[in-house]
Amino acid sequence: MSGRAARWCWTAWAVAAAAAAALTLTGATTPLRPVATWLFLALGPGWAFVGGARPAADPLTRVTVALGLSIAIDITVAQGMLLTDSWSPRTGLLAVLAVCAVGLALHARRALRLRRTRKLVGSLHAQLPQLPSPTVPAGQPSSPGITTANGERGTP
């Protein structure tokens, strides 16, 4: 999935999550409510875990896993409410959002690690000036796909 598509997906995710939370917690009665809530419950929680997963997962696989995992998380939350005698759709939705937060935290940790590794690579690069650094041949406009020293794009 391209970076732009992924960004769009995450934006849609955030909007659906916010809409589902707002509409359900306030008890609004609009036809938008089932659409937003069900869309979020069906794909949101799983997407929070696998939406940014790096494996060579194409969009189809990623959506499939997100769907399965979301439903599984919803079932687990609902079943948990039954077992603990604390049935309430609001509690359930908050619990699902909490699970999403765990998924997002995993993502954040991974992104942080990635950035630290890149910085390390960048500093190593700076310490070894004798190595030929990837430079753009003179006279040619720099193409966006070329790796820069601090590893912003592409792979070293």
Binding site: P34, T37, T64, G68, A72, I75, A78, Q79, M81, D85
Partner: protein, 654 residues
């Protein structure tokens, strides 16, 4: 010598000015090839869908009889279905894969086969779906379950999640769920199916054809609002995740550690080099990279850790939702491990442990209470649909025809799958994973007591893999030629299976659909009968419910299935009086669906129930509490020799 050459050159120079005709040519060619074909396919597809919809809308559902919906379909609808098949076959014949176009056609197919029927029938169909709505309603109201009442409450995950979703979605959401679940389920099943197909085949034609055949083959009606329907999706997701992330390394890429690896690599090289047929038997001597299998994607240990977590959470959700599906998952995973197609060797044992813990601990409420009736209760699940599909063929001649038709349909899918397995092997693939996955569910027959329905559950669990094998019967090799024969066969099979699906799926439509009148009668019952009442019907499993108040109304059928229907007004009155207890009155509910159910299954004309209803209405022994053309609610008139009857209806129409 140079002179003629010179003149030729000059002639060429002279010819140049006439060339400007050519430059415009390359530009249209730069458009993706086959765009015009794609547009034509789309047009044919939309025409087909439109024709089908117009034809279906003109169907008078009141004219339904025991032979089901297919005999009522007008020629326009059948022509529409044929156009859908043509458009799909042409898309398969295109030079390159047009994923969007293929996905669109699958969407249209599901919409035609499921959503269109849901729209023309004003009320959600299928009795068990309404019963499940009742369970959901109970959890929604009380936040608790009733494991003593029904075995299915010991696996409440599905009902809990739909109560949760319904409440989060607002008022009236359950009926909407009921109506759209078959459509949504079938679409959802296609996602993991395509992922599995991608892992197990190398060619796009086989993949998309498998999805198409799956939709066509899925007539067994387990995709309705039910734990089975949802658990099936999760089952497919587990297989898809296992095949995507946990396959052993592709021999060609793995570091050669053993002599076997080395041999395999040598064989791969041989294979690539051995276009000449002479060397091929040599290459087949050692297992190598399978031409029928796709290379697994690369992944890191942390990716696989995450995916293992996904597997376990999904399996946990299946375990708490459905009795049977966990065993289907275990069978599938065990087969994958045994065939060396999945590297997680301990997984089957882990899954067995999880199920054992749930069954022994969480369902103990049910076990301790009703161990004796447990088997009977499991058996009653069989009345969902398939009971009549099993080994015995019952009912009128038309109904028997439908049942034979279903068996023939199923046999055709199985035969295609067998052919596919053979052709795949002939094409050089030594992989038998799909065949094993298709066979694995048969273990379930021994495990559970679903009666005559067992075989159809097995068919359901096997269907994704049967469809995949069936597709490989048409496009078996790595890069199949667009052989006209294969495409013609695809079209022919689709043309047979499309009406076959409508025949098999909607064969019982006369008593599986409901009318608004029947739903209103049920609402009258929910709104008016006191707690502890018994609702009496003539024949079993044909009320749209109970979708409310599952805990305080009992349901009893006077005639058991398979018994000769012998009942008169006096007998009916006696049976009603028997069920009238101190706890509450007995209420007779007669519906349109019952008339046709009796006709189809119990060897009595539909008018028999209608006559009985007329007699009861005229009789002084009964009192009509509520009536509309499709349903009536009656109680025993209060006489000295009977117990106090139900309270007078408050404002209900008479």
């Amino acid at each position: 010598m140079t002179e003629p050459a010179g003149t030729a050159l000059r002639e060429l120079e002279a010819a140049r000015p006439t060339r400007p005709v050519r430059p415009p040519l390359p530009r249209p060619r730069r458009r993706p090839p086959g765009l015009r074909a794609a547009a034509m396919v789309l047009a044919v597809n939309l025409t087909g869908a439109g024709l089908y919809w117009l034809g279906l809308r003109s169907v008078d559902l009141r004219a339904l009889d025991d032979s089901g919906l297919v005999t009522l379909l007008p020629a326009a609808a059948l022509a529409g279905l044929a156009l859908l098949a043509c458009a799909f076959t042409v898309t398969l014949a295109l030079r390159r894969e047009r994923a969007g176009l293929l996905a669109w056609q699958l969407l249209v197919l599901v919409a035609c086969l499921h959503a269109a029927v849901a729209v023309i029938e004003q009320v959600p169909r299928f009795q068990t779906a309404w019963v499940h709505a009742g369970f959901t309603d109970y959890i929604l109201r009380t936040g608790a379950t009733l494991p003593q009442e029904d075995a299915r409450f010991s696996w409440p995950g599905f009902f809990a999640v739909s109560a949760f979703a319904a409440q989060a979605g607002g008022e009236g959401a359950v009926t909407q769920l009921l109506r759209w679940t078959p459509t949504l389920s079938n679409l959802a099943y296609l996602l993991p199916l395509l992922v599995i197909a991608r892992a197990m085949t190398t060619h796009w034609r086989a993949r998309w054809l498998a999805a198409w055949l799956f939709v066509l083959g899925n007539w067994v009606a387990q995709d309705y609002y039910s734990p089975q329907g949802l658990a099936f999706l999760l089952y497919l997701v587990i297989v898809a995740v296992a095949l995507t992330w946990f396959r052993p390394p592709y021999p060609e890429l793995a570091p050669a550690r053993t002599s076997r690896d080395l041999l395999a690599r040598a064989q791969a090289l041989l294979r690539r080099a051995s276009r000449p047929r002479l060397l091929r038997p040599l290459a087949a001597l050692v297992p190598g990279p399978d031409p029928g299998l796709r290379r697994p994607p690369e992944s890191t240990p942390s990716d696989r850790g995450l995916m293992l977590g996904v597997l376990l959470v999904v399996f946990l959700a299946i375990t708490v939702s459905h009795q049977l599906t966990p065993f289907a998952v275990i069978a599938a995973v065990a087969v994958l491990v045994a065939a060396d197609r999945v590297t997680l060797r301990g997984l089957p044992l882990l899954l067995v442990t999880l199920v054992a813990v749930w069954v022994s601990w969480m369902t103990v409420a049910y076990w301790s209470g009703n161990l004796g009736t447990m088997l009977g209760s499991l058996g009653s699940l069989a009345t969902n649909l398939g009971d009549n599909l099993g080994d015995r063929i019952v009912g009128t001649r038309e109904r028997q025809l439908v049942q034979y038709g279903r068996i023939a349909f199923t046999a055709a899918v199985l035969a295609l799958a067998a052919l596919g397995a053979v052709r795949r092997r002939r094409a050089g693939s030594a992989d038998r994973t799909i065949t094993l996955l298709a066979l694995a569910p048969f273990i379930l027959v021994a495990l559970q007591s679903y009666g005559g329905e067992a075989l159809f559950r097995v068919y359901f669990f096997a269907l994704p893999f049967l469809a995949l094998l069936a597709a490989l019967a048409f496009f078996p090799t790595r890069a199949p030629r667009r052989s006209p024969a294969a495409l013609a066969a695809t079209l022919a099979v689709s043309l047979v299976l499309l009406p076959g699906f409508v025949m098999a799926r909607y064969g019982n439509e006369v008593f599986e659909r409901y009318t608004p009148g029947e739903i209103q009668a049920m609402h009258y019952v929910y709104d008016h009968v006191p707690t502890g009442s018994t609702v009496v019907t003539i024949a079993p499993s044909n009320l749209p419910g109970p979708s409310e108040r599952v805990e305080d109304i009992r349901y009893v059928a006077v005639l058991e299935e398979g018994r000769k229907a012998r009942l008169d007004l006096a007998g009916l009155r006696r049976r009603l009086a028997d069920h009238q207890t101190d706890a509450g009155p007995a209420v007779l509910v007669l519906t349109r669906a019952q008339r046709f159910y009796v006709q189809a299954n119990l060897g009595r004309p539909a008018s028999w129930v209608a006559d009985l209803e007329d007699q009861a209405r005229d009789s002084a022994a009964f009192r009509v509490e509520y009536a509309n053309p499709d349903a009536a609610v009656l109680t025993l008139a209060a006489t000295p020799d009977t117990l106090p009857a139900a309270p007078a209806p408050q404002g209900g129409p008479r």
